[in-house]
Every structure is written in C-alpha cells, then in structure tokens.
Amino acid sequence: MSHVPGNLGGVSSPPSVPDVLIRAHGLVKTFPKKHGEAFTAVAGIDFEVRRGEVFGFLGPNGAGKSTTMRMIGCVSPVGGGHLSLFGLDPNTRGPQIRARLGVVPQEDTLDVEMRVRDNMHVYGRYFGLPRAVIRERAARLLDFVQLTDRAEDKVEPLSGGMKRRLTIARALINDPEILILDEPTTGLDPQARHVVWDRLYRLKQQGTTLILTTHYMDEAEQLCDRLVVMDKGRIAAEGAPRELIERYATREVLELRFPLGEQEQAAEKLAGIGERLEPLPDRVLVYADDGEAALTEAHRRGLEPVTALVRRSTLEDVFLHLTGRTLVD
C-alpha cells in the first residue's frame, strides 16, 4: 500500500531516535467517593513511552488502565505525582498536547445521525484543519480502514467493528504523534477484532506510536512492543511480552481437568512435577518447560485427568502468577 495514514507530514523524528514522548513518575489519581473515603484508582505508577513503540497497559477491569489513559489524554486532571507528554504538563497545556494526540475512546463517540464522511469533517475542524486537507485525509483514512464504500452512509447502521474502525480513522485526522486506544476491540466479535488488529499492526509497521489498554492477553502479545501489567492501580511488572513470559512463567503449561471433587486430591499428587502448580477452580495448571514430560509423569503417578492440554505460556500466566487471579473472569 502506498498511502501512509500515520506520519502524513514529516513532523516526527526518525525511529532511530529513542526520544521519550511520555514520562510518568509516581502518577496518582484519587476520586472522592460520594459517601465515605476516597477511592484510589491509580496508586503511584512509573512508565515511559518512546517514539515509535507500541506500549500496552494490560490488566483486568478496574485495574486503573482507563483512568491512566484519561490522564494521558489530558481529559482528567493529574491527581498526584508527575506526568508529561512531549515535555508538557497536561494540567496546564492540555489543548496543546491534545492537538498532537489521536484518541480512540472505549465507547464510540461518533455522531450516529451524521454521515461517515461528515464525522471525519467535524472532527478535523476541531483541530482547525483546512477543508481541502480534511477531505483529502478523510478519503485516504477511510480507505485505510476499509470504509470508503460507506463514506456517504449514516453511521447508525454500521456494525460495531465498522464504527470502531471509523473511530480509529477519525482519531488519525490530525496526523497525531501518538494514537491512544482504550480497549480497542472490547465488544467486537472475533472476526471484527482481527480486522482492527490488522489495521493497528499496519500503523505499527509505519512507525506510529501507539498506546493501548486491553484485558485480552492475545491482543497485548500480538501488538505490544512493551507493556506494563496493572493490577489494583499499581504496576505489577513491565517489559516486552516475551520477556515477561520468560521471567514469570515456564516455557510450557500443562492444563489438567479432573472429575468433580477429585481435583484437590489430584493436585496433591501432582506436587513436585514441573516448577510450579496453580490450582484454579476448574483445572490445575502445571508450569513446566516440557509439558509432555510433565504429563507422562502425571500418568505414571496414576492420575487420570478428564482432559490434558499442553500449550505455550502466555501473558495470562504471567498475570496469574503476579496477582493470583485470571485476567478475564
């Protein structure tokens, strides 16, 4: 494809320059509860986002991801600690920072009564872009998100996946230096998710800096260069997906299911196999570098699981190890 929706201009530095676009140190956000004590959504986090990378916040609902994203997006005042984007303070330079961001909110905020093209138009005008520039970019971006043939249609009847893609196209209208996506594929069916991932992957290839939150570990693994695992307002771990898996999990995992009531006994018998055991309500996870060998050993000890599955470790296992809980409940 010849067109390049990200970096339409030439305002960004070459990717070889490792400049830090976002810096957070001891970042805090506390909300006053209507009755009773304050609620701390973000409890002092540190991170840096560099130009050209895809940076992720992985965590379950309520981990503080969206709140962090809103502070980064300069729509929620920083509650404490330090946060800067492009070296600017969000609390005082919000509009200047937002002029350089593209934001895809968790819930679509499209004008459903307007046509697809008009949505691009009204949004572009908020940035003060000339009509001709908006027209040209809208055509190119709608093509990028495969919505060209729906340009004259109203937004209302579009599918969830199309709406999300339109929101992504709209967020790129100002040629942002950072694209922020809050749960970009939540609520989409598997096929629609893959189309969105494909588009985001293309943006990544083109060198667009992306920040995304997700509670899907496959999304984080496929897209993120680097991520932080968030839990209860804190960062539990930070690194590249592979790195985190190597650090916090074994190469493979053996998943065993036992008949009702027999799991507890089975877990006792499994003790000592692999590096670690993780009994879940419905199955037992055996962390071992060689899953097949672990299974052979389990059989040798006289265990007869209903199902046995050997798979590679994922970020889900990292999260489980760090917090003792699963990502999606």
């Binding site: 030439g10 729509v75 929620s76 509009p95 004008d111 908020y126 872009l129 001709a132």
Partner: protein, 279 residues
C-alpha cells in the same frame, strides 16, 4: 469519488499549524461550526415553525382575545401592543431554556459528541461557549422573526423599539447559561421536564407577560422583581411603547447583566467538572 491532491508539504504545514492552539474565541467558533453542521439538515423545519408560530400567536392574541380586553391597560395601548413585547421577551427565555437543555444533555449522554470534542484542543469552556453561541444564534433568529411580525401587526410605537430585539436576546442568554449549567450535570431528561413545567411555565405566566404585574397580589411583587424575565419583559415593553427612561433602562440592563455573569460562571464551572472527568 474525486481524489483531492494535496501535496505532502501542504498537508504537513496544515498539521504544523493545527498544533498551534488558538485562543478561546476561535476554539468556541469551531464548536459553533460543529452545531452548524449538526443542524444544517433540519434548518428548513426550524424556519417554518419559527415563522408560523409568532404569526398564529399574534393573530390569536390580537384579533381574538385582544378585542375582548380593554380594561386595566395603560392609556391608549391595545392589548396586542401590550403583550407583544412581553411575549418577545418570554419567547426568548423559552428558546434560551430549550437550547440549553436537550442539546447539552444529548451531547453528554446520548450522542457523546462532547466526549469526542474534549479529545481535541477543545476545552470544556470552548465547548460551552460554542454551544451557547449556537443557542443564541437560534434565539436571535426566532426573536427577529417575531419582532418582524410585531412590526407588521403595528405593535411598535417608538424608534426605541429596535432595541427590544437585543434586550430580548439578552433575556434569552440570561436563561440559556444556567440551563446549560444544569443540563450538563444530568444523566436523564426527567429533571428537564420538571424545569419546563415548574420553572419555565410559571415564569412565562407570572412575569407580567400577559397582564400588568401591578395586578398580582402585593406579596408577589418582590418575587416578580427578582425574576430576570420580569426585567426583560418590562424593558422590552418600555422600548416598544416609548416609555423608557435612562434610569429604568439602567436598572433592567444592570440586573440582566449581573444574572448573565452569574449564569456564565456557573456554566463554565459545571462543564469543567463534567467534561474534565472528575468522576
């Protein structure tokens, strides 16, 4: 589909320029343009109702009810000439309240366009002023149509009458901002209905619009004096009947301006609280 040809350099320059965020006036104007696009497809219906409404109103009041009422009016003034300026001000109030209600609630609750706007250089205050500009523009258009009808029905008796139009608009603004301040805090439209029924309608009826305020019971006079609509109605009437004095004009305008300032401050505060997510 025609493909525009914009050079990469021109596009980059536009991006560069969009990074330099302008002042509040330009930002508010951009919000106004959003509303212009939004309402563009329904403007014909608005114009028809804006013209039909006043004509029907003045016909019914002047030719119908008006001929029955000769009692208690200032000397030499027909009932139609008496109520027309009052209705001008009261309708401006009504428009101000309507423009500050569903437009705002819908933007934050149903359509979400405010949530989209805050992700751009728009600040809550720009969104607020831009929305207000569009509400005032519509109020001005409606008031102008009504004023023209008033002239046509021969209810303007003084050259000062022309000033009744801006006064009516000021009256509308006095109600628009507090209404916006209220609507932005809501999550459902139930409270709006309450305002329409229990605030707007009584004001419409009891602020001296349809009968001289002196006919209200004595104890209600102070209440009339503190309602901004009463000041708007009185001043509009003094202007169209030619009875205005420098003192009365100063008192009415002064009161309306103070109320306007309070409303603007309240709207700014509430928009900031809601849109810069303090939740």
């Amino acid at each position: 589909m025609s493909t525009e040809t914009i050079s990469a350099a021109a596009s980059a320059e536009a991006t560069e320029r969009s990074r330099r965020v302008p002042g509040g006036l330009v930002l508010s104007w951009r919000q106004f343009l959003y509303w212009y696009t939004f309402f563009y497809r329904t403007w014909r219906g608005t114009v028809v109702s804006a013209i039909l409404g006043p004509v029907m109103y003045l016909t019914a009041m002047g030719v119908g009810i008006g001929t029955l009422i000769t009692h208690g009016l200032p000397a030499g003034v027909t009932y139609l000439s008496f109520i027309a300026p009052g209705v001008l001000a009261a309708m401006a109030m009504q428009n101000g309240i309507f423009e500050g209600s569903f437009t705002v609630l819908g933007s934050v609750k149903w359509a979400g366009n405010y949530w989209a706007a805050v992700n751009t250089p728009q600040r809550p205050q720009d969104i607020m002023f831009g929305t207000a500009m569009q509400g005032l523009a519509r109020t001005a258009a409606m008031s102008t149509v009504f004023f023209c009808a008033m002239v046509g029905f021969g209810t303007t008796h003084s050259l000062w009458s022309v000033l009744a139009l801006p006064v009516a608009l000021l009256t509308g603004a006095v109600f628009l901002f507090p209404m916006m301040a209220f609507s932005i805090t809501l999550d459902s439209d139930q409270p709006l209905i309450v305002v329409f029924r229990f605030v707007m309608t009584p004001l419409f009826l009891f602020s001296g619009t349809f009968f001289p305020w002196q006919q209200l019971p004595e104890w209600m006079h102070p209440i009339a004096f503190i309602t901004p609509l009463w000041h708007g109605v009185e001043l509009c009437r003094e202007l169209t009947l030619g009875t205005v004095t420098a003192t009365s004009a100063a008192i009415h305008i002064g009161y309306l301006l103070v109320a306007l300032a309070a409303g603007v401050a309240l709207a700014r505060r509430n928009f900031d609280r809601r849109l810069y997510l303090h939740r």
